[in-house]
């Protein structure tokens, strides 16, 4: 198992403590393409943050390839994120004053890769997502789909063990959404990266091979969707 989670609890402290995750047990194998579905407030975003080492948890265990991810220093967390995890966000989160290729280079910058090497690898990555011609453009000169493809290239550049996508199609139209999901499945198949997509769109979830439903901070149903015939809408479901 690449990702092993057992008995995970998370409570947000505050004036009114909020018990968000109430004992999650989950294992994901290397190279899997899974989606986590749930309504807003179900705890799926919190789970994703913990998976992405952006947030910590109170109880339980989270292991990546056997390494316990718990109580890390900021510096360690940053290094783990840099080397193990690639992020794809709903709002792309590209740096606006950097060109596409500079955005893709950034994770390598924090690994200390020399500039020329960085540029070479970033160009290669942009080619894979079909954006070679857009390398010198700034994010505000690109369409949503193009921006998301830049973000995907950025997530892939360090060859992370896990790619986490938080509503990757949330800001895209249906046609572009389909293209992005196709690109993600392609990456999953071709490079064997573990892909975890958090979504509330069943069309998106239907593209994945396993659907994990989360409800009120607990794991609900886990559907095997290798045939891509998710229960709710069936095989012919359109994306939106």
């Amino acid at each position: 198992m690449q990702i092993e989670i057992s008995g995970l609890h998370k409570t947000y402290t505050g004036a009114q403590p909020l018990h968000v995750l109430k004992g999650i047990d989950l294992s994901i194998e290397k190279g899997e393409f899974v989606s986590i579905m749930g309504a807003s407030g179900s705890g799926k975003s919190t789970l994703l943050n913990i998976l992405g080492i952006l947030d910590n948890y109170d109880e339980g265990e989270y292991r990546i390839d056997g390494t316990l991810i718990k109580d890390l220093s900021e510096r360690q967390a940053a290094d783990y994120r840099n080397r193990m995890i690639g992020f794809i966000f709903q709002s792309f989160n590209l740096i606006s004053f950097k060109t596409a290729v500079e955005n893709v280079e950034l994770p390598l910058f924090y690994q200390g890769v020399p500039r020329r090497k960085r540029h070479e690898r970033a160009m290669e990555m942009l080619e894979r997502v079909g954006l070679t011609d857009w390398a010198g453009h700034y994010p505000n000169e690109m369409s949503g789909g193009q921006k998301q493809r830049v973000a995907i290239a950025r997530a892939l550049i360090t060859y992370p063990k896990i790619i986490l996508a938080d509503e990757p199609t949330g800001a895209l139209d249906s046609k572009t959404s389909a293209e992005v999901m196709e690109l993600l499945s392609h990456i999953n198949e071709k490079y064997g990266a573990t892909l975890i997509v958090v979504t509330h769109e069943s069309g998106v979830a239907n593209c994945t091979n396993r659907i994990i439903h989360i409800k009120d901070g607990m794991i609900g149903e886990i559907e095997d969707n290798s045939a891509h015939k998710a229960s709710m809408f069936g095989a012919a479901t359109v994306m939106k």
Partner: protein, 420 residues
């Protein structure tokens, strides 16, 4: 490192106006420091220059008027120093501190050579006078012990006197010539250097010669002596009191009479001057640093604004693996670079202002009591101040960046990314 500078350049470029406005405050601070220190240096140099090279551990004693009745004598009596006082000061009572004792006696008169003449004053002195008063010889020699012993009729004149009498500047040719002072002829043995601005330039002759020739008897003008081992102002004060008591009593004046004789202590005066110079210097630095501080606060402020504006960006950077130190070094380096860049502009402008002062104020002299005094001399700062100012700038930049950098490093990616 190069990448870091590119990142910073991008950030500065996006906030050109804001950055340069703040930079002006920093530049102004450093400008003030440099100009203040430069002007201060100029003032001090001028003072030092006007004092020349006199030996500082000397005291001069002269006669005054008694201010209180004593021993049956009324107040207001003139006290004249004499040879006995010289013996007293050089004697066992003060042997612990006094090194060399010298006395002067003076006589005014017309000094002539052929048709050329000027009215001046003759000073009868001992050989030690040259060292104590910083007399610099241009040609020939100063009065020596044999001149004193044999009461030779020899004279040392100033370069100015030489020009008056011989109408040329070939001082060498003056040596051996005979000048007349009130019908007494003296052979010139040396020419000493005087400042062009110095109005009074005496003719030096041996102490003993002047006394015998002009019939001065026991009386002397002033008594000068060098001393050692009086390091504090308090020591000096006590010593002066002791001298006064002893000399006063020799002249039948009250030992505690402050006016019977006067003492001018070069050492304490010099000490006070050095103190004043030091205090002035510190004061100038403090003023400068406070001025710079407003610049630092400004830089700190824009860096805070920058961090706030870039929270989202820092969140992204951290999410994709930037360590907190990578973020904070970005901010601190930016702060140091802004401070250093504008600081250097201020420094260069400050140096230019110092050069301007040098070309204007420093060229003017003022006449004070017959002496030309320059207001400023060489009002510039040295390399040491430039280095200190550079260090100060780096320190100031780091200080300015510290709080914003910590804030930037503490950005939590989830919160930063949520806020869009």
């Amino acid at each position: 490192m190069g990448d870091l500078f590119i990142e910073i350049w991008e950030s500065v470029r996006r906030n050109k106006l804001r950055t340069s406005l703040t930079g002006v405050a920093v530049a102004w601070g450093i400008f003030m420091i440099i100009v203040l220190l430069g002007a201060g240096n100029g003032l001090m140099n001028a003072v030092m220059d006007n004092t020349g090279d006199v030996q500082t551990n000397t005291m001069m004693i002269g006669g005054g008027w008694t201010s209180k009745p004593y021993d049956g004598l009324s107040a207001g009596r003139r006290i004249r120093l004499d040879d006995k006082d010289v013996a007293t000061i050089a004697g066992p009572a003060f042997i612990e501190h006094v090194d060399e004792v010298s006395a002067t006696v003076s006589q005014s008169g017309t000094v002539s050579y052929g048709d050329n003449h000027f009215s001046g004053s003759l000073s009868g002195i001992y050989p030690g006078y040259a060292e104590m008063e910083g007399v610099k010889m241009t040609r020939g020699r100063f009065i020596n012990p044999r001149d004193i012993e044999e009461s030779r009729k020899v004279a040392v004149i100033s370069t100015r006197n030489a020009r008056n009498l011989f109408e040329n500047t070939d001082y060498e040719s003056c040596i051996g010539k005979r000048i007349k002072v009130a019908d007494v002829s003296f052979r010139i043995v040396g020419v000493y250097q005087v400042n062009e601005s110095d109005m009074s330039s005496e003719v030096f002759v041996p102490f003993t010669t002047l006394k015998t020739v002009y019939g001065k008897g026991e009386e002397i003008g002033e008594l000068i002596f060098s001393f050692h081992g009086l390091d504090t102002e308090q020591d000096n004060e006590q010593f002066e009191k002791h001298v006064k008591a002893v000399v006063n009593q020799a002249h039948r004046a009250a030992p505690d009479d402050e006016r019977a004789i006067w003492i001018w202590n070069r050492f304490t005066e010099d000490m006070q001057m050095n103190n004043a110079v030091r205090i002035l210097n510190i004061a100038l630095w403090i003023i400068g640093i406070f001025t710079l501080m407003s610049g630092v606060v400004g830089v700190s402020n824009i860096m805070l604004v920058t961090v706030k504006e870039r929270t989202h960006e820092f969140g992204i950077r951290k999410a994709i693996g930037a360590r907190p130190s990578a973020i904070s070094s970005l901010i601190i380096t930016e702060s140091v670079l802004i401070t250093a860049f504008f600081g250097y502009i201020g420094m260069v402008l400050g140096m230019l202002a110092c050069m301007y002062l040098d070309a204007t104020v420093a060229q003017h002299t003022m006449e004070v009591m017959g002496t030309q005094i320059s207001m400023m001399k060489d009002p510039t700062v040295g390399l040491d101040v430039a280095v200190e100012a550079t260090l100060l700038l780096v320190l100031a930049g780091t200080l300015a960046g510290l709080a914003p950098a910590r804030k930037a490093a503490a950005v939590r990616p989830i919160e930063a990314l949520r806020a869009d």
